[in-house]
Symmetry: C2
Subunit: 415 residues, 2 copies
Amino acid sequence: MLAEIITIGDEILIGQIVDTNSAWMAQTLNNIGIRVKQVSSVSDDEQHILDALKLAESRAEIILITGGLGPTKDDITKKTLAKYFNMGFRRDEETLQQVSAIFAKANRPMIELNRMQADVPDGCVVVPNRNGTAPGMWFNENGKIFVSMPGVPYEMMYMMEEEVLPRLKTTLNVPFIYHKTILTAGIGESFLAVRIAEIEASLPEYIKLAYLPKMGQVRLRLSGSSRDEQQLHADINHYSKQLADEVREFVVVEDDIPLETAVMNIMKSNNLTLSTAESCTGGYLSHLLTRHPGSSAVFSGGAVTYSNDLKMAVLGVQASTLLEYGAVSEQTVKEMATGALQAFKTDYAISVSGIAGPDGGTPDKPVGTVWIAVASAHGVEARKSTFGNKRTQNIERAAASALILLLSRLKLDHQ
Amino acid sequence: MLAEIITIGDEILIGQIVDTNSAWMAQTLNNIGIRVKQVSSVSDDEQHILDALKLAESRAEIILITGGLGPTKDDITKKTLAKYFNMGFRRDEETLQQVSAIFAKANRPMIELNRMQADVPDGCVVVPNRNGTAPGMWFNENGKIFVSMPGVPYEMMYMMEEEVLPRLKTTLNVPFIYHKTILTAGIGESFLAVRIAEIEASLPEYIKLAYLPKMGQVRLRLSGSSRDEQQLHADINHYSKQLADEVREFVVVEDDIPLETAVMNIMKSNNLTLSTAESCTGGYLSHLLTRHPGSSAVFSGGAVTYSNDLKMAVLGVQASTLLEYGAVSEQTVKEMATGALQAFKTDYAISVSGIAGPDGGTPDKPVGTVWIAVASAHGVEARKSTFGNKRTQNIERAAASALILLLSRLKLDHQ
């Protein structure tokens, strides 16, 4: 069963916002066995939207549309859908009540522009929006399913989870899709490919292998679809185990989870606590940890010591160390980690100090130079990396390196 | 002049990664006056790629393709392009040297799979990749320009900035595009629309107004394109000023910059320093600040006090306050802010404590309850918000609220 996603809105096409909706939608669709054939981002332009609908309809059975449902003039998705299906409009009473309730709760007066949010093409089924004023719309037309949803991520997400996915599941009878991912670190894509070439060649036609490199990690993903769910799982798990065994020393975890989750899982099951001491990553490392529910079981907290003053005051880094070796040095990053261990009373502490750029580089410490350290009762170890000269990239790679170092330490200490 | 972006790779269509490349590319293309007509994400499937190329070619003059250039079997972009243009292959000597140099620098042996990265369709112009082994490819075919680039963001970005954009600029003679954005906070989209209805109606045909709502903020964006750059700028600036004057009390900044940059600009020009004390935002707030170059001029650092122990040890929050009022309370968040002010010796401190979810809610403090405070020599003030029950959303909205509160405080104190 194939779906297509059409996102509507000039803001994506001029690059003002990143389309995060599509990835989330694709993932949730995959989970119920629906494969996304194409994602198309088109402008708030009637003819362009009409064309995109026509093409999507020719390739897929389910067309999910987001965006362009706001109350203002630049939003034309609703009237374009009415034109596409040759429908008139009706005012939906339930939606009107829902919109009125939102305004009442917020204690704000309602104007005709808001009431018009309840006008929908007369041949659609309204999909309630519990978090906003623009209703979703479900069309069964031309033998296909079309669903139009708001572009605001959390409105769309609720609508998908509470309304659209359950309806799709009951309406369709789809084959199962199954993915299994192995997260590796410390080996390049081509070397992985050579190491596992024989296994790759032996894969049955209906199982695909993909290499997904990112930040010093490569994810190996096996995917397949079949009507026989049990056989599918058995086959993919069999080949996944073969792959993992072949490159065992580089395997972080045999699951599609982020690095930080793999770290926290090991720590949680060993009742270990963690703190952070960040300079160049500026809070990104603790954000990576705390974006996950339940992280408080492992992560106690940390310090973002951007200035040298705070490195000394909060983490107890010696002034003489900073003076002699500088903030980006093995000595400083080690003192940061041991300082965090003491100040925050955790079992492990990770620290990062580097030059994220674009400024601040010197000939012997160019932009992209990053020191990371891990401290615990077992001692402290540090490692240096040299990345490129993109700030965002350096921050992300530094955080990933710190997690990889911690993970290798944890494996030695606790597995 | 119209461009299309085609991103190739199953990882986007199964939602394993978010496509951040397209937004960045669209922005940089816009800056040189090229409008993106459509972004299409398609799978690593030959026929699908061929179809996407054909359709893109029918709508646009420039087709930029990313992804599918890795050395492994699942990457088929290069051979599909050769098929599309009916070309054979040649081994590019410069690319081979570049690839060899990368392997020599990393002290890694080279295998045939790596050497094959230097094979390109024989009718293309090679676009050098300074940061990876997959070369870019430029085709002048069918009266259109096609450029194929790697999907790895920083490889693509360098290639665009150093090679592709300069070549496009010299090759094309395009009209100017100009955007101007006003960032507002504290007023809903529909109310803004009513307030500025007359100005909106008076806009000339070639200037478009868009409303971009996000996290308690609405961006108003005026866009236009013209061959008369001076007139275009004058007109858009004229209407932009009218709009901003009409809703002056809600205007954060008349520029397309993030909230945190607006905050830091005010602080920098007043020589003010900032620290943070984060609980539920877990480092996200300091990450927002530090992801920008030059943030160290304003931001000294902060604490991520996830546990109550750290709230007391690092920020000096009273045990009795936590006991009597709880971690998510006006009293605690105020003590966190004043504690940060003292511990980190900054002019301002912002603190956040809330229940990000999905667990931890109670009847009187449901998931989504967030307290924020701002402290300075002028005193400390706190505000409560109630968001929804999505963790990521709550973290992002809490950080935005804290910045909005700080901004309103700064405007009272320093403008």
